[in-house]
Amino acid sequence: MARATSRTRIAVSTAAAWIVGLAIFFPILWMVLASFKTELDAFAIPPKFLFFDWTLENYGVVQKRSDYVLHAYNSIVIAGGATLIALLIAIPAAWAMAFAPTKRTRGTLLWMLSTKMMPPVGVLVPMYLFFRDVGLLDTRAGLIGVLCLGNLPIVIWMLFTYFKEVPKDILEAARMDGATLAKELIFVLAPMSVPGIASTLLLNFILAWNEAFWTLNLSSADAAPLTVFIASYSSPEGLFWAKLSAASTLAIAPILVLGWLSQRQLVRGLTFGAVK
């Protein structure tokens, strides 16, 4: 910038941004604090902000009762698998739509997106019957399949909008030089699309991680991810706030850390073709 930014301006915008940021983050912070309180303190009025008896008791209870590691592992495998497979299918498809569009491309994309708007509960019973017949109930593979297909429309669309921003001249130049399709994809398109692919991957990983309808209804013991872990702590008879907060903190911790570590990638590619 040519003009020096005044100190007051920095001070004002810093203060404003921090206040806004803290306000948005506060519910999560409050939950994490509750996870270190006793059940009675979690409900105390006036609320106890920092001066309460910090306790790890809730984490101990959760640790004793549930196999957190198994649930977390399932979440990672299911969300990761679903996202990776969706990417493998979607990259060629989005490439084709972006660089070799036909008359039906627009219609196809639209229809793909509209499948995402169908409420899943409407097809639960047919799905359950199908899963029962092919032996996919309570398997990670089954959940990977469902979540992969569920996210595919979004994945294709994100990649499509991203690929469209790749200058066509470069591709044509490569083609003139005799590059095959595979080479074109690997050497020209891929490097230019890494940020887009990375943010697509992250966004869909988050969506798959938090998916709580199919994961709850199609798994029971072996394949149950963290969404099921949460359902075993919410609303039992009795006070459960602090314990639920501890379980919730554990359930969102991995994804929060991943999201924070990768926020630059997430932000860089998250344009949906909206930025020229």
Binding site: G21, P27, A96, P101, L113, P119, F130, N210, S234, A274
Partner: protein, 290 residues
Amino acid sequence: MATRQTQILGRSVTAPSVLLLLAWSLAPLAATIYFSFTYYNLLNPASGQFVGIDNYSYFLTDPAFLASLKNTLVLVGSVLVITVVLGTLVAVLMNQPVIGLNIVRLMVIAPFFVMPTVSALVWKNLLMHPVSGLFAWIANSLGLHPIDWFANAPMLAVILIVAWQWLPFATLILLTALQSLDGEQLEAAEMDGAGPFSTFFYITLAHLARPITVVILIETIFLLSVFAEIFVTTGGGPGLATTNIAFLIYSQALIQYDVGGASAGGIVAVILANIVATFLVRLVGKNLEA
């Protein structure tokens, strides 16, 4: 224009995903259409006979149907307005010189990572509870009467929770767009004597028009099927105050176990979703133009 060869190639690489999606949406869709014409209650094994359009007339004449249609639109519309307006403001703020921007950004995007069930539970019991919630304590400390959120403003409460979850998404996209805005253009406008407000309206907002439409499209897809937040907080009530289409179909399917009725509801929802999708795509048409 692409050559004929690339078009063929294009089709052959598109085929797997299109086929999979076809299988995914058509097979259950076909089953759903089939069930929607039969009487099928999970708790009544004797069911299965063809009943014509009974399920549809039952679903559409349900007094809850129109209410839930209205609630769905109110919910989607309000959350879109809140997240776009606040998202723009937060994005503009974060585009200013801020000390510790990285940490602020972390805090702003965090709600997006939280499972909907968890955020609904936290908001309902730790924040909005009229006796032991934090908001009630704040209101009392200020000498105000605490709001009884889920009894007196249930829809507003649900909207706030959902908007909180989607605000980071809108902010992120709009922020990315802002960062690509040409600084020189802004400076030129300021040189020409444009005030900060007219600069914001004529240059920044104009630049954000396209990302905003994208935010609207993506969010709508997810907002049409908001469920966990309602299930956890109000259970669709009081009365029908917060029953949306997704929740209505849920209660048909998993409280009444009426698969036929739920299937009919599912088909109605698909038709409605396609109408909405057509509108939306008109709106963001430019982005989809090949």
